[in-house]
Every structure is written in structure tokens, then in C-alpha cells.
Symmetry: C2
DNA sequence: AAAATATGCAATACATAGGTTGCATTTAAT
DNA sequence: ATTAAATGCAACCTATGTATTGCATATTTT
């Protein structure tokens, strides 16, 4: 076989959506990426439970510098998971529930596909 | 104020768990990180719907090389989201639902915290 | 006004992620 | 036995992520 033939396969499983790419997946990946860091996950959990907090207070709960926390907050903000409000000399960050729901829907969708596959399998076995 | 006083703050919000770090969050972060890539999210969705598939078939649905897909599969495997079985000269990859459930539980826990905070707020306003 | 607090900005360092290429190895098909 | 197919392994490249340091700026507080 020639060297780089790998990409030339044309045997594509029927269930595999090629270029149109599930839009829900494209939307969800950045949200999961934002949640895929322990520090950020903690920040989300804290903001979720404690209302709006300043950077200084959020930094107090970590071993990293304020600037590092600031960057994490911006990552979360880019993913739409938090938003900020400037109050005086402070910048308060608060949780934004909408995108978390989006993530939940994605997981549910995948899990549902799985359940469906299981169900089909079960029916196939029963017959 | 001296230059790097940021880390010396001792005003810690009551709700903020310092070093003990919620164990659930530490477990979930790697799972979210694994899901935080569009290609991997697609792979999960495909495996979830289509049973066990070889690397070659999984590669056919993408624009990237087989080796890149292999790396993504290993990331998913490290997160416990997929597992592989060697069959003849093929290596088949299949979805592993347990860890996805873990991710769902994490999101539910966070969302529940949020609901709880809202409920407390509502009660406070009503009084 | 002066000092303290809270944050912003920019440069930098370092590790890791994502991807590729080239070649070797294992199995299956002819 | 050859050839083809599927995969494994390793080196490499580049971009991005994480975190730091140093300094500047904006707001309170005293």
C-alpha cells in the first residue's frame, strides 16, 4: 500500500455525519473545554453557590496568582459560563446558567443515543 | 502595598473550600477536558451510536490523519470514555458509558447548587 | 493629598496539545 | 510466498494553554 493512503478511505459507516458536523457538538466542545480544568471547575462551583465575587476573593481560594485566576475567568467568560460586572474598583464575576444547560443537553443527547443503541441491540437479541 | 501581596489575602468567602478541593470536581475535570474538543466529541457520539469501530473507519469521517485520530482515541481512553479491543489486525473502539454518567452528575451537582442559591435568594426577598 | 486596595496590561517562560511524516510491524487475502 | 491492509511507534513541528513577573492605572480609605 502506498504511504499515505489512510486518508483515501471511502468506506464510511452510515451513522457517521461527515462534513455537516453536528452543530450541537461544535457548540458544546468549547463549553466542555472551559470546564475541563480543575481550577475553572472550582470557580464555576464557587460562583454558582456564592453569587458574585471579586477576583481578589476568588484568588484567595487558590494557590495561583490573581492574574492566573483572571485568565481562567476570561476562559469561562468566553465560553459564556460566567459574566462580569464592574462595581467601583472591583470586578465582580457571576455564574451564567444558560451555557451549563447547553452542556447538560449535549451529555443527555449522547446518553440518549447510547440508550437507543442499547434498545436496538436488545430487540435484535430477543428476536 | 508591596508588589506581590495578592497571594497573601486571608479574606476567604465562607462558601469557598480551600485545599480539600471537592473530590468530584477533580474527577470530572479530565472527563470534561476529554470532551472539550470537537473531534473527540464527534468520536464519542459516533461510537455511542454505532457500536465498536476500527480506527480506519473512524478516520474516514474526518479530515485529519489516522494517527491524529488514534491520539484522540487515547485521550478519550485515558478519561475512561472509550475502551478498545483488538480483533485480528484491527483495533475496535467502543463507548464506555460510566464516565459520561460521572460528567452528568457533576453538571447536575453544579446546577443543583445554583437552584439552591436561587431558592435562598427568593426566600430572602420574600421576607 | 497620601496610602492602600483592586485590577489591568504586557512580556516572558515553559509545558502540553494537536497534528504531521516516515517507517516498522502485525494480520489477512490472493 | 507476496501483496495489501490496519495499525503501532517515534521524531518532529507549531500553536495554544497555564502561569509568572513587573509595572501601570483606577478607586477607596484615611
Amino acid at each position: 500500500m502506498s504511504r499515505h493512503a489512510d486518508r483515501r478511505y471511502n468506506i464510511v459507516p452510515r451513522s457517521l455525519p461527515r462534513s455537516p458536523k453536528h452543530p450541537a457538538l461544535r457548540k458544546s466542545a468549547p463549553i466542555f473545554a472551559a470546564l475541563g480544568d480543575e481550577t475553572r471547575l472550582r470557580l464555576v462551583a464557587i460562583l454558582c453557590a456564592g453569587g458574585a465575587l471579586s477576583i481578589a476573593r476568588l484568588t484567595a481560594g487558590t494557590q495561583i496568582t490573581r492574574q492566573a485566576v483572571t485568565k481562567h475567568l476570561h476562559v469561562l467568560a468566553d465560553a459564556g459560563l460566567v459574566r462580569d460586572v464592574k462595581v467601583g474598583r472591583e470586578r465582580l464575576w457571576e455564574f451564567e446558567p444558560a451555557q451549563l444547560e447547553e452542556a447538560r443537553r449535549s451529555l443527555d443527547a449522547i446518553a440518549q443515543q447510547w440508550d437507543h443503541a442499547l434498545h436496538k441491540l436488545k430487540k435484535a437479541v430477543e428476536q
